[in-house]
Symmetry: C2
Subunit: 271 residues, 2 copies
Amino acid sequence: MPAHDSHPFDAAVALDAAGDGVFRGRTHPLWSNMVGPFGGITAAVMLAAPCRDPRRIGEPLALTVNYAAPVADGEFTVEATPVRTTRTTQHWTMLLRQRDGVAATASAVFAVRRDTWAAHELPMPAVPAADEVPPTLRRAPLAWPERYEFRFVAGPWPELSGTEAGESLTRVWVRDEPPRPLDALSLAAIADVFYPRIFRRRGRFTPIGTVSITTYFHAAAAELAAQGVRPVLGCAQGRRYAGGFFEQNAEVWGDAGVLLASSHQIVYFKE
Amino acid sequence: MPAHDSHPFDAAVALDAAGDGVFRGRTHPLWSNMVGPFGGITAAVMLAAPCRDPRRIGEPLALTVNYAAPVADGEFTVEATPVRTTRTTQHWTMLLRQRDGVAATASAVFAVRRDTWAAHELPMPAVPAADEVPPTLRRAPLAWPERYEFRFVAGPWPELSGTEAGESLTRVWVRDEPPRPLDALSLAAIADVFYPRIFRRRGRFTPIGTVSITTYFHAAAAELAAQGVRPVLGCAQGRRYAGGFFEQNAEVWGDAGVLLASSHQIVYFKE
């Protein structure tokens, strides 16, 4: 395992402070997607800005990222504005800018978690333990999936052979590759590692692009630290597909059966 | 049925143009909640601003509203900024301001829908038709629930007698009261009509407040128009409850079995 500060994830979310709430970053070739960087790493870097701002209080609770235009390879700035602070929450808005304008907008809420009544509504799905599931050989001709180890329990990368499927459920054990202790930033990226559900439904490649993703962080920092470098269980499924857009929902569970995060996204597709 | 322009919903989302992207509105006593207005009407009025801006193209696709502070009774402005327009989407950010600062931030994506491959992932739940389910007598000592007719199929307003429940599922036929033809603005409000899931789980009143809600609009304007004034089926369920926050997910179905919208929210609770 490399030292934390040389991990490719940390390299990709590195930001240089450049004045009140302004941070400079750059895309990282190890995280490239079909066009521009993996959406999950863009989400993580936008969340990183308020996380690194000295005015920030509390831990990430909610993050919405709107992908307004492709992020071009190279430099960008993230402008983070603290809008309002209450006793238990702090609200931020962010803009990711490149030379030709705003590429993404975002909002984040940070929270001071307290000891309260607690419950899960539904248990973690019953699946074999991660070490009983073989890692999948890489299949996508892209850089970013190499940054993760995937152990698919259900719904692996589809064959894209033209056979439609009735549903799109995926269950997969996933961790950073090489291993890296889980934190809210890496969880923000992991919440978006699920291939587009339409690939499985249609059984063929369809040009797509996430329009907007919202991630809710359900675990306190201590719970994330307790998860460490062990794989988390990701579950993802599509919802309605119509008019060139579909919704995709995901849950990320810790291996102790605790819901760490959920994410919801609306995705553009062509044809 | 009153004329469209005198309906209490239209009165509550009425905005006066006050310069580039700036709109003036005011809270409406018929929509008041425990503190300030019903969150769903605040979401609708923030979406109304770009809808009424002459620069807006397309139909609502995604809306995120972050409730940063209670909205005080009285006047407010909504500032709507068109951030980026692509061939198929237009991205906006919004701020709701009152005298003492920003009370809510929001982002919206509008889309030009096209004729594409289409599918549902899961069918609408099998429930009795709306006219086979009696409307519920009002139980909440609040104004805004009177603006809707609720016909509960499952999970009605809980007794708050102290008996905990294992799950929080609600299924309810709902429409504006008095009836009003469905559109994206009224759907944005209906996506938030589900009482806090923690009331059902704990079987007692718990002080709560929505922190952030994201609604995805799955239906084109023509589908909403076809629904007209007939009740829609709302389904809502909670997820993890911990550290003073819980997630609540909802779906709104047209009576023809089409998913009209989904909503996801993270809610603060005390103790």
